[in-house]
Protein backbone atom coordinates (compact mmCIF):
# COMPACT_ATOMS: atom_id res chain seq x y z
CA UNK A 1 0.00 0.00 0.00
CA UNK A 2 1.49 3.34 -0.97
CA UNK A 3 2.23 5.76 1.82
CA UNK A 4 -0.02 8.35 0.25
CA UNK A 5 -2.97 5.94 0.25
CA UNK A 6 -2.10 4.93 3.78
CA UNK A 7 -2.22 8.52 5.00
CA UNK A 8 -5.50 9.08 3.22
CA UNK A 9 -6.79 5.94 4.88
CA UNK A 10 -5.96 7.29 8.32
CA UNK A 11 -7.65 10.58 7.50
CA UNK A 12 -10.75 8.79 6.15
CA UNK A 13 -10.96 6.56 9.18
CA UNK A 14 -10.84 9.64 11.31
CA UNK A 15 -13.96 10.87 9.57
CA UNK A 16 -15.95 7.63 9.86
CA UNK A 17 -18.93 7.76 12.17
CA UNK A 18 -17.96 6.32 15.47
CA UNK A 19 -20.06 5.15 18.37
CA UNK A 20 -18.94 6.49 21.66
CA UNK A 21 -19.41 4.46 24.82
CA UNK A 22 -18.07 7.30 26.92
CA UNK A 23 -14.62 5.79 26.60
CA UNK A 24 -11.87 8.03 27.87
CA UNK A 25 -9.25 9.33 25.44
CA UNK A 26 -6.99 9.95 28.43
CA UNK A 27 -5.30 6.70 29.34
CA UNK A 28 -4.60 5.80 32.94
CA UNK A 29 -0.96 4.84 32.86
CA UNK A 30 0.60 2.53 35.45
CA UNK A 31 3.26 3.81 37.77
CA UNK A 32 6.16 2.24 35.82
CA UNK A 33 8.33 2.63 38.92
CA UNK A 34 10.14 -0.61 38.21
CA UNK A 35 10.86 0.31 34.62
CA UNK A 36 12.15 3.75 35.52
CA UNK A 37 14.46 2.24 38.09
CA UNK A 38 16.02 0.00 35.47
CA UNK A 39 16.16 2.65 32.76
CA UNK A 40 19.31 4.52 31.90
CA UNK A 41 17.17 7.39 30.70
CA UNK A 42 13.53 8.23 31.04
CA UNK A 43 11.20 10.88 29.70
CA UNK A 44 8.12 11.69 31.74
CA UNK A 45 5.89 14.42 30.36
CA UNK A 46 2.35 15.18 31.46
CA UNK A 47 0.89 18.34 29.95
CA UNK A 48 -2.72 19.30 30.62
CA UNK A 49 -4.74 22.00 28.87
CA UNK A 50 -3.54 24.89 31.04
CA UNK A 51 0.11 23.90 30.56
CA UNK A 52 -0.37 23.55 26.81
CA UNK A 53 -1.98 26.95 26.74
CA UNK A 54 0.90 28.40 28.74
CA UNK A 55 3.45 26.73 26.46
CA UNK A 56 1.69 28.09 23.38
CA UNK A 57 2.21 31.63 24.66
CA UNK A 58 5.94 31.04 24.74
CA UNK A 59 6.27 29.34 21.37
CA UNK A 60 8.05 31.62 18.96
CA UNK A 61 6.14 31.93 15.68
CA UNK A 62 9.28 33.08 13.88
CA UNK A 63 10.95 29.74 14.61
CA UNK A 64 9.67 27.15 12.09
CA UNK A 65 9.82 24.26 14.58
CA UNK A 66 8.01 26.20 17.26
CA UNK A 67 5.45 27.55 14.82
CA UNK A 68 4.72 23.98 13.69
CA UNK A 69 4.44 22.91 17.31
CA UNK A 70 2.00 25.70 18.10
CA UNK A 71 -0.13 24.65 15.16
CA UNK A 72 -0.01 21.00 16.22
CA UNK A 73 -1.12 21.58 19.79
CA UNK A 74 -4.09 23.80 18.99
CA UNK A 75 -7.23 22.13 20.25
CA UNK A 76 -5.34 19.61 22.37
CA UNK A 77 -6.37 18.92 25.95
CA UNK A 78 -3.32 16.95 26.97
CA UNK A 79 -0.11 15.26 25.96
CA UNK A 80 1.38 12.42 27.97
CA UNK A 81 4.71 10.78 27.18
CA UNK A 82 6.45 7.99 29.01
CA UNK A 83 9.66 6.76 27.44
CA UNK A 84 12.27 4.48 28.98
CA UNK A 85 15.64 3.65 27.50
CA UNK A 86 17.61 0.67 28.74
CA UNK A 87 21.21 -0.45 28.45
CA UNK A 88 20.27 -3.95 27.35
CA UNK A 89 17.60 -5.88 25.49
CA UNK A 90 14.73 -7.50 27.30
CA UNK A 91 14.58 -5.04 30.19
CA UNK A 92 10.80 -4.86 29.99
CA UNK A 93 8.06 -7.39 29.39
CA UNK A 94 4.99 -7.19 27.17
CA UNK A 95 2.91 -7.71 30.31
CA UNK A 96 4.14 -4.32 31.59
CA UNK A 97 1.69 -2.84 29.10
CA UNK A 98 -1.30 -5.08 29.88
CA UNK A 99 -3.25 -2.38 31.66
CA UNK A 100 -2.64 0.09 28.82
CA UNK A 101 -3.68 -2.39 26.14
CA UNK A 102 -6.81 -3.35 28.05
CA UNK A 103 -7.92 0.29 27.97
CA UNK A 104 -7.15 0.49 24.25
CA UNK A 105 -9.30 -2.58 23.71
CA UNK A 106 -12.40 -0.82 25.03
CA UNK A 107 -15.07 0.49 22.64
CA UNK A 108 -14.17 3.87 21.22
CA UNK A 109 -10.54 3.05 20.58
CA UNK A 110 -9.57 1.70 17.17
CA UNK A 111 -6.21 0.23 16.36
CA UNK A 112 -5.20 1.92 13.14
CA UNK A 113 -2.08 -0.05 12.56
CA UNK A 114 0.53 -2.27 14.03
CA UNK A 115 3.90 -2.46 12.36
CA UNK A 116 6.78 -4.77 13.02
CA UNK A 117 10.11 -3.88 11.55
CA UNK A 118 12.50 -6.68 10.84
CA UNK A 119 15.31 -4.20 10.48
CA UNK A 120 14.94 -2.38 13.76
CA UNK A 121 12.95 -5.10 15.59
CA UNK A 122 10.58 -2.35 16.61
CA UNK A 123 6.87 -2.84 17.08
CA UNK A 124 4.68 0.26 16.78
CA UNK A 125 0.96 0.35 17.47
CA UNK A 126 -1.17 3.38 16.71
CA UNK A 127 -4.63 3.77 18.17
CA UNK A 128 -7.23 6.42 17.50
CA UNK A 129 -10.37 7.34 19.38
CA UNK A 130 -13.08 9.13 17.45
CA UNK A 131 -16.24 10.89 18.55
CA UNK A 132 -18.77 12.48 16.23
CA UNK A 133 -16.52 12.06 13.24
CA UNK A 134 -13.55 13.67 14.92
CA UNK A 135 -10.36 12.21 16.31
CA UNK A 136 -10.28 12.93 20.04
CA UNK A 137 -7.56 10.63 21.24
CA UNK A 138 -4.34 9.17 19.92
CA UNK A 139 -2.19 6.53 21.50
CA UNK A 140 1.13 5.25 20.27
CA UNK A 141 2.99 2.33 21.79
CA UNK A 142 6.50 1.80 20.45
CA UNK A 143 8.24 -1.31 21.70
CA UNK A 144 11.89 -1.43 20.68
CA UNK A 145 14.59 -3.77 21.96
CA UNK A 146 16.02 -1.13 24.29
CA UNK A 147 13.31 1.47 24.46
CA UNK A 148 9.67 1.53 25.39
CA UNK A 149 7.56 4.56 24.58
CA UNK A 150 3.94 5.38 25.20
CA UNK A 151 2.36 8.55 23.84
CA UNK A 152 -1.19 9.63 24.62
CA UNK A 153 -2.58 12.73 22.98
CA UNK A 154 -5.98 13.99 24.11
CA UNK A 155 -8.10 16.49 22.25
CA UNK A 156 -9.01 17.46 18.74
CA UNK A 157 -6.30 15.82 16.69
CA UNK A 158 -5.42 16.64 13.14
CA UNK A 159 -3.27 13.82 11.92
CA UNK A 160 -2.32 15.80 8.85
CA UNK A 161 -0.77 18.42 11.14
CA UNK A 162 1.07 15.76 13.07
CA UNK A 163 2.33 14.41 9.78
CA UNK A 164 3.53 17.87 8.82
CA UNK A 165 5.92 17.68 11.72
CA UNK A 166 7.93 15.23 9.62
CA UNK A 167 11.22 16.85 8.75
CA UNK A 168 11.16 18.93 11.93
CA UNK A 169 12.53 18.33 15.37
CA UNK A 170 15.56 16.64 13.90
CA UNK A 171 13.57 13.87 12.21
CA UNK A 172 14.75 13.45 8.61
CA UNK A 173 12.31 13.83 5.79
CA UNK A 174 11.50 10.53 4.20
CA UNK A 175 9.54 11.88 1.29
CA UNK A 176 6.49 10.02 2.47
CA UNK A 177 4.07 12.92 2.25
CA UNK A 178 1.45 13.43 -0.46
CA UNK A 179 2.04 11.42 -3.62
CA UNK A 180 5.05 12.54 -5.56
CA UNK A 181 5.72 11.97 -9.22
CA UNK A 182 7.59 8.78 -10.09
CA UNK A 183 10.39 10.94 -11.47
CA UNK A 184 11.07 12.18 -7.94
CA UNK A 185 12.14 8.71 -6.98
CA UNK A 186 9.45 8.27 -4.38
CA UNK A 187 8.98 4.88 -2.88
CA UNK A 188 5.19 5.31 -3.03
Amino acid sequence: MSMHKYLKWIFVLALLPAVSFAANPRLVLPDFTGLAGRASDSVTITLDAPMLSLAARFLDPSDPDQAAAEDAIKGLQGIVVRSYTFDQDGAYKPSDLDSVRSQLATPGWNRLMETRSQKSHANVEIYLMTEANKAVGLAVIASEPRQLTIVNIIGSIDLEKLHKLEGRFGVPQLGIGPAKSPAAGSAH
Binding site: D31, T33, L35, G37, S40, S42, T44
Partner: protein, 180 residues
Amino acid sequence: MDEQLAQARAGNLGAFSTLVQAHKRSVYSLALRMLGQPELAEDMAQEVFIQLHANLSSILSADHLAFWLRKVTAHRVIDYLRRRPTVSITSLDEEAEQMEPADPGDPLLQRQVRQLILGLSPDARAVVTLRYQEDLDPVDIARTLDMSINTVKSHLKRSLDLMRQRIESGEPPRCEGQSP
Protein backbone atom coordinates in the same frame (compact mmCIF):
# COMPACT_ATOMS: atom_id res chain seq x y z
CA MET B 1 7.28 20.58 69.18
CA ASP B 2 3.55 20.67 68.43
CA GLU B 3 3.17 22.80 71.56
CA GLN B 4 5.87 25.18 70.34
CA LEU B 5 4.10 25.34 66.99
CA ALA B 6 0.79 26.21 68.62
CA GLN B 7 2.42 28.97 70.64
CA ALA B 8 4.28 30.30 67.62
CA ARG B 9 0.98 30.47 65.74
CA ALA B 10 -0.41 32.46 68.65
CA GLY B 11 2.33 35.04 68.11
CA ASN B 12 4.88 33.86 70.67
CA LEU B 13 8.20 34.90 69.17
CA GLY B 14 10.10 32.80 71.68
CA ALA B 15 8.29 29.71 70.53
CA PHE B 16 8.99 30.65 66.92
CA SER B 17 12.64 31.07 67.80
CA THR B 18 12.64 27.55 69.25
CA LEU B 19 11.29 26.24 65.94
CA VAL B 20 14.02 28.10 64.11
CA GLN B 21 16.69 26.55 66.36
CA ALA B 22 15.30 23.10 65.72
CA HIS B 23 15.33 23.44 61.93
CA LYS B 24 17.91 26.03 60.92
CA ARG B 25 20.74 23.55 60.35
CA SER B 26 18.61 21.46 58.03
CA VAL B 27 17.26 24.45 56.10
CA TYR B 28 20.61 26.17 55.85
CA SER B 29 22.43 22.99 54.84
CA LEU B 30 19.92 22.15 52.16
CA ALA B 31 20.41 25.61 50.67
CA LEU B 32 24.18 25.46 51.14
CA ARG B 33 24.68 22.09 49.43
CA MET B 34 22.61 23.22 46.49
CA LEU B 35 24.10 26.71 46.17
CA GLY B 36 27.68 26.22 47.33
CA GLN B 37 27.77 29.71 48.82
CA PRO B 38 27.40 30.14 52.60
CA GLU B 39 26.26 33.79 52.61
CA LEU B 40 23.70 33.19 49.91
CA ALA B 41 22.53 30.05 51.69
CA GLU B 42 22.04 32.00 54.92
CA ASP B 43 20.09 34.67 53.10
CA MET B 44 17.91 32.03 51.46
CA ALA B 45 17.38 30.24 54.79
CA GLN B 46 16.32 33.46 56.47
CA GLU B 47 13.82 34.13 53.69
CA VAL B 48 12.39 30.67 54.25
CA PHE B 49 11.88 31.33 57.95
CA ILE B 50 10.36 34.73 57.24
CA GLN B 51 7.96 33.03 54.87
CA LEU B 52 7.27 30.44 57.56
CA HIS B 53 6.44 33.16 60.06
CA ALA B 54 3.93 34.61 57.64
CA ASN B 55 2.37 31.20 57.00
CA LEU B 56 2.34 29.60 60.44
CA SER B 57 -1.41 29.26 60.36
CA SER B 58 -1.13 26.81 57.47
CA ILE B 59 1.31 24.50 59.30
CA LEU B 60 -0.65 21.57 60.71
CA SER B 61 1.90 19.64 62.76
CA ALA B 62 5.59 19.22 63.54
CA ASP B 63 5.91 16.70 60.70
CA HIS B 64 4.18 19.05 58.34
CA LEU B 65 6.56 21.80 59.41
CA ALA B 66 9.60 19.74 58.49
CA PHE B 67 8.04 18.83 55.14
CA TRP B 68 7.07 22.45 54.49
CA LEU B 69 10.54 23.77 55.26
CA ARG B 70 12.24 21.30 52.97
CA LYS B 71 9.75 21.93 50.20
CA VAL B 72 9.97 25.71 50.36
CA THR B 73 13.75 25.72 50.68
CA ALA B 74 14.27 23.35 47.77
CA HIS B 75 11.84 25.18 45.51
CA ARG B 76 13.32 28.59 46.36
CA VAL B 77 16.84 27.43 45.60
CA ILE B 78 15.79 25.67 42.39
CA ASP B 79 13.99 28.79 41.23
CA TYR B 80 17.04 30.88 42.06
CA LEU B 81 19.40 28.53 40.24
CA ARG B 82 17.21 28.49 37.17
CA ARG B 83 17.32 32.27 37.04
CA ARG B 84 21.04 32.40 37.78
CA PRO B 85 22.64 29.59 35.79
CA THR B 86 26.24 30.39 36.70
CA VAL B 87 27.44 28.50 39.74
CA SER B 88 30.63 29.40 41.47
CA ILE B 89 32.99 26.89 42.97
CA THR B 90 33.54 27.78 46.60
CA SER B 91 36.99 28.83 47.62
CA LEU B 92 39.00 26.83 50.11
CA ASP B 93 38.42 29.57 52.70
CA GLU B 94 34.67 29.29 52.29
CA GLU B 95 34.94 25.52 52.55
CA ALA B 96 36.87 25.91 55.79
CA GLU B 97 34.05 28.06 57.18
CA GLN B 98 31.53 25.41 56.29
CA MET B 99 33.29 22.59 58.05
CA GLU B 100 32.25 21.70 61.55
CA PRO B 101 35.17 21.54 64.00
CA ALA B 102 34.49 17.89 64.67
CA ASP B 103 33.87 17.00 61.03
CA PRO B 104 35.10 13.45 60.59
CA GLY B 105 36.40 12.01 57.37
CA ASP B 106 38.58 13.32 54.60
CA PRO B 107 37.92 17.05 54.09
CA LEU B 108 39.36 17.10 50.56
CA LEU B 109 37.21 14.15 49.51
CA GLN B 110 34.16 15.77 51.05
CA ARG B 111 34.94 18.95 49.15
CA GLN B 112 35.27 16.96 45.93
CA VAL B 113 31.92 15.30 46.48
CA ARG B 114 30.23 18.61 47.26
CA GLN B 115 31.70 20.14 44.10
CA LEU B 116 30.40 17.19 42.10
CA ILE B 117 26.93 17.89 43.46
CA LEU B 118 27.25 21.50 42.37
CA GLY B 119 27.92 20.19 38.88
CA LEU B 120 24.45 18.68 38.70
CA SER B 121 21.30 20.33 37.44
CA PRO B 122 19.20 22.22 40.03
CA ASP B 123 16.60 19.44 40.21
CA ALA B 124 19.24 16.73 40.52
CA ARG B 125 21.04 18.65 43.26
CA ALA B 126 17.82 18.87 45.23
CA VAL B 127 17.14 15.15 44.81
CA VAL B 128 20.65 14.10 45.85
CA THR B 129 20.75 16.45 48.83
CA LEU B 130 17.33 15.42 50.10
CA ARG B 131 18.34 11.79 49.74
CA TYR B 132 21.74 11.86 51.40
CA GLN B 133 21.47 14.78 53.78
CA GLU B 134 17.86 14.47 54.86
CA ASP B 135 17.71 10.70 54.32
CA LEU B 136 14.38 10.95 52.52
CA ASP B 137 13.18 8.05 50.43
CA PRO B 138 12.18 8.64 46.78
CA VAL B 139 8.48 8.83 47.64
CA ASP B 140 9.04 11.67 50.09
CA ILE B 141 11.47 13.39 47.73
CA ALA B 142 8.83 13.23 45.01
CA ARG B 143 6.25 14.82 47.31
CA THR B 144 8.69 17.50 48.40
CA LEU B 145 9.74 18.49 44.91
CA ASP B 146 6.42 17.87 43.11
CA MET B 147 8.07 15.33 40.84
CA SER B 148 7.04 11.86 39.88
CA ILE B 149 8.81 9.00 41.62
CA ASN B 150 10.16 7.92 38.26
CA THR B 151 11.81 11.28 37.75
CA VAL B 152 13.31 11.19 41.23
CA LYS B 153 14.78 7.76 40.65
CA SER B 154 16.03 8.79 37.26
CA HIS B 155 17.77 11.82 38.75
CA LEU B 156 19.32 9.71 41.49
CA LYS B 157 20.59 7.04 39.15
CA ARG B 158 22.00 9.44 36.60
CA SER B 159 23.57 11.68 39.23
CA LEU B 160 25.28 8.78 40.98
CA ASP B 161 26.49 7.39 37.65
CA LEU B 162 27.84 10.77 36.64
CA MET B 163 29.56 11.39 39.95
CA ARG B 164 31.01 7.91 40.04
CA GLN B 165 32.32 8.36 36.52
CA ARG B 166 33.97 11.64 37.41
CA ILE B 167 35.53 10.25 40.55
CA GLU B 168 36.91 7.25 38.67
CA SER B 169 38.25 9.31 35.80
CA GLY B 170 39.79 11.86 38.13
CA GLU B 171 37.96 14.52 36.14
CA PRO B 172 37.88 17.89 37.96
CA PRO B 173 34.42 19.04 39.02
CA ARG B 174 32.65 21.15 36.43
CA CYS B 175 30.56 24.29 36.80
CA GLU B 176 27.18 23.34 35.39
CA GLY B 177 24.35 25.67 34.65
CA GLN B 178 20.80 24.68 34.26
CA SER B 179 19.87 21.31 33.00
CA PRO B 180 19.40 21.08 29.23
